[in-house]
Symmetry: C2
């Protein structure tokens, strides 16, 4: 029976450490790290996500603010707000909660957030830096998966990993983090990585998965990964979040992309949904915000040393 | 017996087409596209590479210039030259031949070339755009591999591909181009992609390769890919260039990473070394330079329309 990767517990541990680090940072005379989130329109899911992020900020001692703009906001208005936040020295990190209304180009917005405040890691420059194994901001979800693997001492060096999905904010950055050189700035995981996606024939997906020591799935298809696709002892990380009807109770419930009850019988480690990658993602956003604050403080002291 | 992918012939075809396109572009009243190459120091290999590029420029009707700086050039001096070239409207594309002497940081130099003149595609912004399937410059070698596959009608959609190597200027951009969505701006190839590298155990490398419909190898190890690792009918693209001693003649000769004579007996298609990816790479640099010139002309006419 697989060991459950308890994202809540691990997350709590890391938040405690981050809380200590923030306190040390502030006690050393630095300004309190600050995260500003921007929500455009009134998407209920976005409200929940942002609320969770704000709660996490409180837990680790990061000050935070949510700016709310109406659904009718133009791209120009949003860009202006982002520009102000970029220039505001009291703001360490800026995140624009996605999705944005359709009159606004998501890519333009992601690129408008200053790379050094881009705690979501969605700016094209941070994506480029990640691809080049350079220092920068890595999106929170792939960072969460990497941290869970490391925390559970899952061996990745020279192992076979399969990433199911090819999204730009989760799967691709994760595939980069998993295959790249551990000796470079991103401290990547040196695994052999196979990227499967919607056009991978199901039979081939099963073959690739069965060869994998680590499977990470992030596509949004309940029950996609079944017991017969998992090598005994493999580590299965489930990034999917799907709302389905519980046949027993008739109520909605959250499930991932893995047939959890079946797969846990063969896997060595498995992350549940909810309570796996989700809470860790929010924690990694806190990690990125503290990192942004530390860099800003370094740059400020470098500048004042030059004066 | 495999069909040989003749990079020279395909390259010649494409250069003819590019030559026509350049002529049309110039006849429409646009300035002649221009490529400036910068060599720092006196690396004999760099001299050959740049000479080949300049010859290709002549063939397709792109004007060109090679700037030579002494091996003692400082990073600042090189950055100043790049800055001048970036600002010079008569220059469509800028390439700094790598490697640069050790007192110069290669990454700083690659990032200094203006993204819109970065015909090598090595600027972090172009790397980010490629990762995000956005319009930008793709490095010439991965573009050459993609073009060879397309030219030979090798089916990639939903097929298994293995990329052996994880270099940032060849293997990673190629892995991105091979697995990403064909409907986005980069017109990627929708294959399932496995990235193998130095830490992939040889036994696992063989297993992954044997499952592959397409194998691309770019590591610099003569004889790495052997007959038993190739599925009958698979397409094998060899990006390796290794200088070894010919046992028969005692002279140096160029070979790739594939045991060509053996593998051609099982493969469906195979690219030779020399005469495969090499000439196509230079051709793709010409493609990128014309693209840069076209974009610059568009931007100029957009600007003048605004005046």
């Amino acid at each position: 029976m697989a060991q459950i990767i308890d994202g809540k517990v691990i997350s709590q541990e890391i938040r405690l450490k981050l809380n200590e680090e923030v306190a040390q940072f502030v006690n050393a005379g630095n300004p309190q790290p600050h995260l500003t989130a921007v929500i455009v329109g009134e998407d209920p899911a976005s409200e929940i996500y942002v609320r969770n992020k704000m709660t996490a900020c409180k837990e680790v001692g990061i000050s935070s603010e949510t700016k709310r703009l109406p659904a009718t906001t133009t791209e120009e208005e949003l860009l202006q707000l982002i520009g102000e936040l970029n220039r505001d020295d009291s703001v360490s990190g800026v995140l624009v909660q996605l999705p944005v209304p359709e009159q606004i180009n998501e890519r333009t917005i992601c690129n408008a957030v200053a790379p050094e405040k881009d705690v979501d890691g969605f700016n094209e420059i941070n994506m480029g830096r990640l691809a080049l194994d350079m220092e920068g901001f890595v999106p929170a979800t792939p960072l969460a998966v990497k941290t869970l693997l490391e925390h559970c001492n899952i061996e990745t060096f020279g192992r076979n990993a399969v990433v199911v999905g090819r999204s730009k904010n989760v799967s691709l950055p994760l595939a980069i983090l998993m295959h790249s050189d551990g000796k470079n700035a991103t401290k990547a995981l040196d695994a052999t990585v196979t990227i499967c996606h919607r056009y991978t024939p199901p039979k081939e997906l099963a073959i690739h998965c069965r060869q994998a020591d680590i499977i990470v799935v992030a596509v949004g298809k309940p029950g996609l990964i079944t017991k017969d696709m998992v090598k005994p002892g493999a580590c299965v990380i489930d990034v999917g979040i799907n709302r389905i009807k519980d046949e027993k109770t008739g109520n909605d419930k959250l499930v991932g992309d893995v047939d959890f009850e079946e797969v846990r019988q063969v896997a060595g480690h498995i992350s549940p949904v909810p309570g796996g990658v989700g809470p860790m993602t929010v924690t990694m956003l806190m990690y990125n915000t503290l990192k942004a604050a530390k860099k800003a403080a370094q740059n400020a002291s470098r500048k004042s040393a030059l004066v």
